[in-house]
């Protein structure tokens, strides 16, 4: 068709904020992330409330917390699994939550990348460290003062 003019289609180029949605995001990541937030949330309610209750409400509450208390708990595989699950779920849940927030507020791609890298690193470190602690934990380390240790160490 003989179109001789150089005029842009209506309003093109005037679109701001720039429309950057070209290219579909791959896969169902956002969906699973969303679903995970809800599933982990439900489980976390049980885990965290249980944790808080035992640590802060039962017996002497917060004052009872010391090495002995923790050691005593982790000698029991039940609490080991409990705390492990809580660690992983809470960290993944929290990391994903913070990721969402970064996506929302960091507008420049660069900032977004940096912040997310820091977030993932921190989370990875904490998760690995926490896991190691729970599994390699020795409730009765040699050479420690006996009164610091859980009661069963003396046995």
């Amino acid at each position: 068709m003989a179109v001789s003019t150089e005029i842009q289609a209506p309003r093109s180029g005037r679109i701001a904020p720039e429309y950057k949605r070209h290219g579909r995001s791959k896969g169902n990541f956002e969906m699973f992330a969303w679903l995970f937030m809800r599933l982990s949330g439900v489980v976390l309610v049980v885990l965290i409330f249980g944790h808080l209750f035992v640590n802060l409400m039962v017996g002497e509450g917060v004052h009872a917390i010391d090495f002995g208390f923790v050691g005593g708990k982790w000698a029991d595989p039940f609490w080991q699994v409990w705390d492990l699950a809580m660690l992983w779920l809470a960290m993944l849940h929290g990391t994903n939550g913070v990721r969402t927030i970064i996506n929302d507020y960091a507008e420049k791609d660069g900032t977004r990348m940096t912040l997310k890298t820091v977030l993932y690193l921190a989370s990875a470190v904490v998760i690995v460290l926490g896991t190691l602690v729970i599994f390699t934990f020795d409730p009765c380390p040699a050479g420690a003062a006996a009164d610091l240790l859980p009661s069963f160490c003396r046995a």
Binding site: R38, V45, V62, H63, D66, M91, V98, I101, A144, L149
Partner: protein, 127 residues
């Protein structure tokens, strides 16, 4: 190209403010969790180190902070359940505001006994 002139704060209602609360508490808990895992990791270093750090937590100021943290977690948890109900329960969206008042109510119900016990313990001192 054209910049948006700054305006006033949007006057959202229950839904928006609960979301703000959820977001703020979520981030707060997350940062606490980072620290909490690290301090707990000290049990791997030595009982003394762990107890030393834990001992510094055992003062009224930290008790208040702890109370705040628990308050945040309890709100986040209950509101999280509300959000889940909005997502999956047919009548959830219709009842979201009522459910928020439910969340607040439950939060009070849980927090009052907790605070009484936690703060009396903290201020009267155990040991």
């Amino acid at each position: 190209m054209s910049k948006t002139p700054a305006g006033t704060l949007y006057r959202g209602r229950e839904g928006m403010w609960s979301w703000v609360g959820h977001r703020v508490t979520g981030v707060a808990i997350f940062f606490f969790l980072l620290v909490h895992v690290l301090d707990t990791a000290l049990v791997r270093v030595s009982p003394d180190a762990y107890n030393a750090v834990i001992a510094t937590y055992k003062n009224p100021f930290m008790a208040l902070l702890e109370a705040g943290l628990v308050a945040a977690i309890v709100f986040h948890a209950f509101n999280g359940l509300r959000v889940i109900l909005i997502d999956f329960w047919k009548k959830g969206p219709k009842n979201q505001a009522k459910m928020l008042w439910g969340v607040v109510g439950l939060w009070v119900v849980v927090m009052v006994p907790f605070l009484i016990r936690h703060l009396t313990l903290a201020f009267t001192g155990g040991h």
